[in-house]
Symmetry: C2
Subunit: 247 residues, 2 copies
Amino acid sequence: MASKTPHALFPLIRKLESVTRLSASERHAIESLPVRVRTLSARQDIVRDGDLATQCCLILEGWAYRYKLLTEGRRQIFSFHIAGDIPDLQSLHIPLMDHNLATMTQATVAFIPHESMHALTARYPTIAAVLWRDTLIDAAIFRAWLIAMGRRPAFEHLVHLFCELYLKQEAVGLAGDHRCPLPITQNDLADATGMTSVHINRVLKEMRGRGLITLHRHTLVVKTWDELIRACEFDETYLHLQKRAVG
Amino acid sequence: MASKTPHALFPLIRKLESVTRLSASERHAIESLPVRVRTLSARQDIVRDGDLATQCCLILEGWAYRYKLLTEGRRQIFSFHIAGDIPDLQSLHIPLMDHNLATMTQATVAFIPHESMHALTARYPTIAAVLWRDTLIDAAIFRAWLIAMGRRPAFEHLVHLFCELYLKQEAVGLAGDHRCPLPITQNDLADATGMTSVHINRVLKEMRGRGLITLHRHTLVVKTWDELIRACEFDETYLHLQKRAVG
DNA sequence: CGCTAATTTGACCTGGATCAACTACGGTGG
DNA sequence: CCACCGTAGTTGATCCAGGTCAAATTAGCG
């Protein structure tokens, strides 16, 4: 491994190997996937609601998010994505998009044709299983968001989201020392939580006031992790994070 | 086909064939799955939050639902399931349950060991793909629920849910003529939509008043489908229903 | 018939929305 | 270096959708 130059799909391989051990041929098959790497500017749609997707998008760097627009300017954000994620993996089996995928920040992404993914998963059931699993975790996160929307008050809801985003980043080495990037606006937080940006602002003020967190210049600083966990009954099980199998 | 006695897994085969054509050996492999058929009474847990699942549960008759409990008696319902659904298919790749699955009504279910499912999907990528697709639609429905929770007022939200439940049942022949079973209480509707049962009751009254629907004795009667659709900007794309490939 | 769970209604309350400024700040161009 | 501008964040005042509490009323069901 150390002798090879890092492959563009390394983030994907790392993710798969955190769940299962890949054989040499499996690893080789992945590395042979045809990829098109692109750098996109912030706030740019990657696939749109209504599109027929023909490729998947692996995030190599930066943030992306998924959302849907309703009438009267309403917007619902479904998820935030970081390096290693394939936010539109679901399009592999449901090509007709029912929502949008866009960059949040400037981002580097790798596009992989569905065709190649289908060939890969048909030949290597293990790889198919791990990718499938990934989409299931995606769904588990949706369920967590449903709980937050339906049964948590605003304060708890937002704390819960922060815990999730911190842990997701920590798992891939993007967060640490109680601090992580959070390159999203209060308006985005509002559309992710079903609130208004005004109320997000007030809840953040309250969180600062209680000495739980700080959110400044797109950086989240967690003051007291334990209290944060307690403030929202956070149970990380649903994220199904592995203990860093591969460095 | 007509010469065979109906197999217990026929609802599953029908679902798979509505998406793809199965070869004789694929069909045979499914019919050879070891199943344990049971009839359960209403409101009985099938798998619990925290359990390590070892089998999947195919619903043959009746309703099931998934939910999670929080402190102070809060409950969030994630989904309702009918014949043909495998509500815990996700446990195949994430055995550690992060929520509960229970019957809503008395129900007949078929249990299939994970082991057999793994063997089946490893051998038949096509079957794996269709089952994977099914879990992706599950996720698509979660997204629709997120929108409803986050960005729809109560009335619209509930109308949307009714449209979804009607169409899901219609697709498998359980609804028709603007009428379908809805064997759930107003309290369940409340926990599914993030409201209180009092408010559900008032919204239902309003819906009756506007002549949109009737909900009585666990039967939903749609008075004017078009208005219902319009009242909640319903777009059925996310359900990815097939045009009845197999009868 | 009687018991329990489910539905319905009324009175009142509140978390978060709405509306409307105002402030801070990172560019950008002169 | 500063003036300008657009985006994002902050704050106050007021409002209302939906929650809470409590008490009937009705439906199932053994």
